[in-house]
Symmetry: C2
Subunit: 197 residues, 2 copies
Amino acid sequence: MTGLRERTRRAVRSQLAEVAMKLFIERGFDETTVDDIAGAAGISKRSFFRYFPAKEDVVFEGVQALGDDIAEEFRNRPATEGPWESLHAVLREWNQEIEDERRALERQRLIETTPVLRARFHHKRDEIRRQLADAVRTRSGLDAFAAELITACAAAALDCASDEWFRLGAKTDRAELIDRAFGLARPACCPPAEPSS
Amino acid sequence: MTGLRERTRRAVRSQLAEVAMKLFIERGFDETTVDDIAGAAGISKRSFFRYFPAKEDVVFEGVQALGDDIAEEFRNRPATEGPWESLHAVLREWNQEIEDERRALERQRLIETTPVLRARFHHKRDEIRRQLADAVRTRSGLDAFAAELITACAAAALDCASDEWFRLGAKTDRAELIDRAFGLARPACCPPAEPSS
DNA sequence: CTCCTTCTTGTCACTCGGTGCCACACTATA
DNA sequence: TATAGTGTGGCACCGAGTGACAAGAAGGAG
């Protein structure tokens, strides 16, 4: 069973993230010091860094776990499906999960307007992309170069859809934008499936 | 004429970059402090930051200027050419210029192995991409979304080619990899030119 | 319950990147 | 040569992050 230690650790961690996000949203990321967060949460600065390796990581609390099993979901897709369609489906699902999170819009705004967070986010997204590239390679029998390329294009499509969604004030349907992006960006090495006439 | 002040400033700046790159390459980026650089160059830490706003910027000295006129070069491409071909040509040229720089390989290795430099590089590349997206939109009459998407795909292709080149030990021809990448990644919204039979 | 081990915590001191401030020196110009 | 502008070093300072250490809380064994 999960011991009390680990339970309290999780609790403190998520409460810490809660408090920090609140401060970030109302004051800005750079304008909030770690001491502010620690003080508001009733712990010391030193302890903060025992829960999060860096100030930025608070923002991605929870988002991290979502990405870990994307490659798994990709592998669970039907083998008949082309890699582009699988990526499309899996990433749309992923994006949906992120959008459903609490404070999804504020978080995205925060990331979008804070350069260091943007960089961190893209880095994390690239790690996921790398895992997907492995999955694409082993499943589709493509060489590594093509697999990297396809996943990079998919990431580009996702990024553009996300940016556009954000630029339009988060009023439009994100999934629909993703569909459009994946339609427009489909790379030449992933031709659309022939309707076996 | 360029006054003495500006001339000495340029000289100090480039010599500073020289010394810093040398230290970075032999010791690593994170293992080299700004005090080390300043000491080796015979100036104070405070003055270092008068020449470069941040430690990372030293690495991109000179590379910055190359990117500034890419959008201009794009606009100088023949109007009959499709956006994908223009991007291909312009970015291949850009990459060639970077490759021809002194210490190109060491610099790339440094960037590739140092997360903070990687982030900075991608950020700079994204600024260029944004300018290109504007150029694509105004020239090709595409909507903003498609323009962003096409340039993002082009950036993805460039990235993959660059990564692959680096992974293969920098022995292969980079331009050839770029050509392959642009062939494989051509997005559906940029169909290849019909040879008007 | 008690003892002992283990984990957590706060505090302190420190490094490093980066900035504001100020006094000093140099340089261009009148 | 006097003077206004500009670059420089030194200093104090901030904020992120880390290492070390001592005190306290949690958990298990007797």
